[in-house]
């Protein structure tokens, strides 16, 4: 049994609600989707019990009603597991994973800035990557956001 299948069977064995939610995309790529209510549990298990201790990055996606967050985790730098979760766009609040991955700070700030997801537990600091005077409630990476004044606007 390959390492990818090992991961699959270990996860489904531990969490039976993950049955059918795990895909092996290709060699060394596993994808897994979990609702946000179950996310902390699964995340904790992956990091602490299965040794997924390397966070490549966090991707944010706007899928209309919901905002998806994909945590790209890896145990050894070889296999990457895309751990997907989603929150409602109307009230996007997730817990920061900074206590576990210090490096997540900048990735989370990026998602907070560009997709407007509130990161609970993220320390106060500079915003990234938008400018300090960027208007509130404008999140450029959301699908319904269109650039205005782009042709002539330099300010």
């Amino acid at each position: 049994m390959s390492q990818e299948e090992n991961i699959l069977s270990e996860l489904t064995g531990r969490f039976n609600f993950l049955e059918g939610k795990i895909n092996i995309l290709r060699q060394r790529r596993v994808s897994l989707e979990v609702g946000y209510d179950k996310f902390p549990e699964v995340f904790d298990y992956l990091v602490n019990k299965m040794g997924f201790n390397f966070l490549h990055t966090i991707t944010g996606l706007d899928e209309g009603e919901r905002i998806f967050l994909i945590y790209h985790l890896s145990p050894d730098g070889r296999i990457v597991l895309n751990l997907k979760t989603s929150v409602l766009k109307a009230n996007p609040i997730v817990k920061s994973v900074m206590p576990i991955f210090l490096n997540a700070e900048i990735y989370e700030r990026e998602i907070a800035d560009l997709l407007g997801v509130k990161m609970e537990g993220l320390p106060i600091g500079h915003r990234y990557p938008l400018t300090d005077d960027w208007p509130v409630n404008e999140f450029p990476l959301r699908k319904d956001w269109k650039p205005h004044n782009t042709e002539e606007g330099v300010s």
Partner: protein, 404 residues
Amino acid sequence: MHNSDEFRIPIGPQHPALKEPESFSIALKGEKILGVDIRLGYNHRGIEKACEERTYIQDMYLLERICGICSHSHSTCFVQAVEELASVQVPKRALYIRTLIAEFERIHSHFLWLGVAGHEIGFDTLLMYTWRDREIIMDILATLTGNRVNYGINTIGGVRRDITDDHKRQILEAMEKLEERINYYIQIATQETTIIKRLSGVGMLTYEEALKLDAVGPTARASGVARDVRKDDPYAAYGEIVFNVITDSHCDVYGRTVVRLKELLESLSIIRQLVNNIPEGPISVRVPRKIPAGEALSRYEAPRGEDVHYVRSNGTEKPDRVKVRAPTLANIQAVKQMLKDRQLADMPIVVAAIDPCFSCTDRMVAMKSEKGASVIKWQELRNYSIEWYKKHGVDFTELNKKLA
């Protein structure tokens, strides 16, 4: 600042030590650094958003322009993801050429870094020497691709230019020359006292810290973390090439220098293997404009570390989402760690030691618009500048009439 012995100095957004605008606000006590406050984002250009409104092939060229030094890294990384989505089998020869350019890029990037590092510690002679020798590789790149940077060699499904036997000969000759130079630099870096004095013990990042902070690339490898995407997740032709992952146990800037220098030798060996074993065949396959829906995560070992691209397609000819994580972003936390309790004099070299590429990290903002605030229109700005120069005696109106 008269009364307090602690004060902050701004390094950036514009400062001679930084080649790109980024702001480090440094709290100092005398010459000692107490803390660093990093503000990124000055180079935000909105590339990720822009990608969603362009076709895949346009995106490839756009993403190549994320960074001038690791341009091939970003374009290859993206192309790999798209090819995975379209499930095309890229011809072997194309993969070999991609790898070849990738290794050339690594060599020229590491040479560039060595020069910059020399400059940061006030050793300009090293800068002049390495940048002169870097021209050897730039010439090769220009011969192979037509460009010194932003090579534009990739296309979805292969590469755009083939290499000839004449090229192969030129490459092998250049490699001989480079090998001699690299050995010379290794000798300098390991024997010259002032260099060793300035580099060793500076910017410490222990093995545990490197793991905890998810450091990537030479920064991680100099702390003994054998993490290299080329080995861990072989892409392009790396699966068929024999090479070593260089690690070092110094954990400081000196270690990072050694790792980069040894990687240069490793790159030379990879290039020789590639040139000697390149298979015959086509260099590209046709890929339909519409890419089937799906998602792919592509990884690539850029000269600075692991580059990650996430591409999500929706069945049209434009991607739904492109996410880029450049290596420098992953190393930012490590810089904070490295600068703690160091001297101000160490700051430039410590920052330089991760080989930062801030343009890479700041990719995506669209134009800024501010409601209520005065927005100068482009035309107005242009007129303003013309008027300003008229007042100062530079007037092109007459000349324009003459020419028209």
